[in-house]
Subunit: 263 residues, 4 copies
């Protein structure tokens, strides 16, 4: 199959920049990511691949991406700040179309970067109403991804379904440890020696979507729960940044609730 | 209180090598570890401390330690091998009095290092009988600690109670993620990007005792469950070695199911 | 001595938050950092300490700090961006009084955060003239520290002397490997498997001042020199942030061209 | 070219287990490692590849490896101990044919594992005589690799030439920092916050051969030079083990004094 695919691409007079394969030997499935340069029109490649590959093969031919995102936040600034700085200097790999906050705390920093901010309070709204308001705003921007940058509301299955594998969340623990609320409090109580952060796609199982990136830092007995929160913010920022880079460079495939990441 | 303690020690004409404190501000408890040199008889220090400290203070004055351990194993060699090498070259910080295995797999390597090996099968025995047999052997050695170096049997509350905070276990996951059996299989299914190992004291709650040391290594989608097992063995060995060093150098205090480690 | 110091503090009716000692056994010197709360006037403590301590003891009693900094930059935004975000949200531990750039590239981002930016070109100026211009601007702000956040000019001994141990630099390599220019190019040529960053105080020996913090990330053969630069920026930002935190919380002592950091 | 190679392999009715490529875009060179299963006779594949590939292509077809090594040591046990344990339990990926020591310190531990030990003192011998004696012993074993497991003698160019890219050394620093003798002393004097270890192929430039693996651990001001030595031993052991695994699994290509490692 590698031979066939490579032959198709070779006949199109383009250069292969990189090619990475992975074989899931359990399910006997083959994954490949090929990065090519000098291709004005990817359509012929896609058509040829459809002919030579099995019918159930999933083919994605993506022209040079111009990814648009909407960021959802609550009050914490650290992940958003990092995203805004990268966005401003055009190294994020995507364009922040707008930020939506269920508090107004982060409006000012968005305004400073000329990024539209929409305040949608969750108060005095049912979850349905709140999410309808979110969807109404999001609809105005043709976003490829929603990024939950410390957005502290749990989204409903109905909402998540609208954005399958398009919502990236940063969870403030080394999943699957400390699922749910107050993970640093849980970590403190348990006396762990490492704390972590996990970036993952959001699915309908809370904190159970495909993991994109994880990282840890050492802590010790002298860390209070607030100390852990502070230390954790540093890796939350770093892990989300790394995950977004992988996603926006289209290095991430999803299969059976896991990610295959071609770095 | 620091002033009082330091004064007591100063009057005894000994040298303070190191002094580390920790204040648990939640419970308002004070912990201090003082390492002294040039002290032939610690008794006067202990007596003086009892006088000046509150009645409920816990005082441990340990003369230069000569720690004895018994190691329990099943079939996996990596942790035991590391312990035997360090023991042989006298850098373990403790002396391995004997090894007990519920399989005979590791008898040969012990014999090569002149370390007594006792084979106690768990087969055709109730847990009670099995543990009685263990205790009978252990009783012959005045062990300060039992080290579970990949010992794959769960010990009963009755057994654990006999050795409170004297049993060190290596768990093949980053606790509290993946408690219980087959953590690498669980990690593989979940698609984590890091796997870990945890050394902890054994209490009656499975995998819930005070954590001494933890470490992780990165993995990716290409790791099968057996690959994770193999990678995990490297950090299991490293984490257990580090934890034992802290314990044998008497740097570890236990308080409220957590460890305070004065490194 | 610990006893004496602790007694002095105890008599002043203040609370000791934390106390950390270090004994340099080579030089037989004793270092201690004590953090206290509830002290309105530190003068009596300082006076008492002077009485009880040896004449050559160095005593620093710092009231709650209100640290002011000036940041020097060239064109790269990553370290400055991180500092500006933390400064804006008041978690930097210091206040950015102004930013000075020898290029105008980063003026805009400073303006967005209402931080004064001074453009001082090094072109058509001797080093002496350039540094005189820097000093003139700096003099307007009573800065406790200068932070070189990817400032790509080497400062003269005369300049450095004016700010002894008050200039923090981020060097884009794991010192002492790859001293000087183009460390990533050097790292690429050498085929290293890790790249690093070092935050250090600036002295008159290029890249030889006391090291405050260091960190590394793994790289492999597929990293081009530009890839290493990109990856390196992430840890440059993180290492500088960590070093500044230690410095601004006054946890860093300097002795014999090394730092003692009481974390 | 990928297409051509894949086609060759496909026609031989074997299974591709993994395939990893790397393109050096600077020199425009292509590297590929293909792991296949179910191939009784690799000769036809090799012949076919020679036909389709450019004349200057380097082709290595290795049947299931049965690698033999000779280990050279001085007095330190930690790397050798780890190698002997893995060798004994057949997880090293190679077979230790013998150990050569220029001191007798480690004879006993080899004997315990039934591994031949040859004592060849360097004393009262010229370097030429010493190396002639080494070569005489090594000649009796058809070793694929020499492993310098803390062998503290510098080998002559004449010796190294006999074993081009077949000598693996563990250097006790994070190269290229602290080249040469006493790296931990140098690290201590410099006040670094991380110490490292480097496994590399030996070439005629001291400590300048292609790097296979590197790792670091954090240290702080409280580490004396001996403390750094002790901490360093842990990573020396780990780094050498990791490098040997890569080498013995034939994942390491060498190009322009750098390694390409297909993990």
């Amino acid at each position: 199959m590698v031979a066939d695919i490579a032959t198709v691409i070779a006949t199109q007079q383009v250069n292969i920049i990189s090619m990475r394969e992975y074989v899931d030997t359990v399910d006997n499935r083959f994954f490949v990511r090929i990065e090519i340069a000098g291709c004005d029109d990817p359509l012929p490649i896609e058509q040829q691949l459809k002919i030579i590959l099995p019918e159930d093969a999933e083919i994605n031919v993506n022209p040079s991406p111009n990814i648009k995102i909407v960021v959802l936040v609550t009050k914490e600034y650290h992940c958003l700040g990092d995203i805004l700085i990268r966005n401003h200097f055009k190294t994020l790999g995507a364009s922040v179309e707008c930020v939506i906050g269920n508090h107004q705390t982060l409006q000012d920093v968005c305004t400073r970067f000329d990024v539209p901010f929409h305040f949608i309070s969750h108060e005095e709204k049912t979850k349905e109403q709140f999410e309808a308001a979110l969807i109404e705003v999001i609809a105005n921007y043709q976003a490829d991804y929603l990024v939950l940058a410390k957005f502290m509301r749990i989204l409903s299955p109905a909402f998540v379904e609208k954005f399958t594998y398009s919502i990236v969340n940063i969870h403030h623990s080394f999943l699957p440890a400390f699922v749910g609320a107050n993970p640093y409090r849980q970590a403190y109580e348990r006396g762990v020696k490492l704390i972590g952060a996990t970036a993952h796609f959001v699915t309908n199982d809370l904190d159970e979507g495909p993991i994109i990136a994880q990282q840890i830092i050492p802590v010790n007995h002298s860390f209070s729960a607030p100390d852990m929160v502070r230390a954790g913010k540093e890796i939350e920022t770093a892990v989300l940044a790394k995950a977004l880079q992988s996603v926006f460079e289209e290095r991430v495939l999803i299969y059976k609730n896991k990610t295959i990441i071609f770095e």
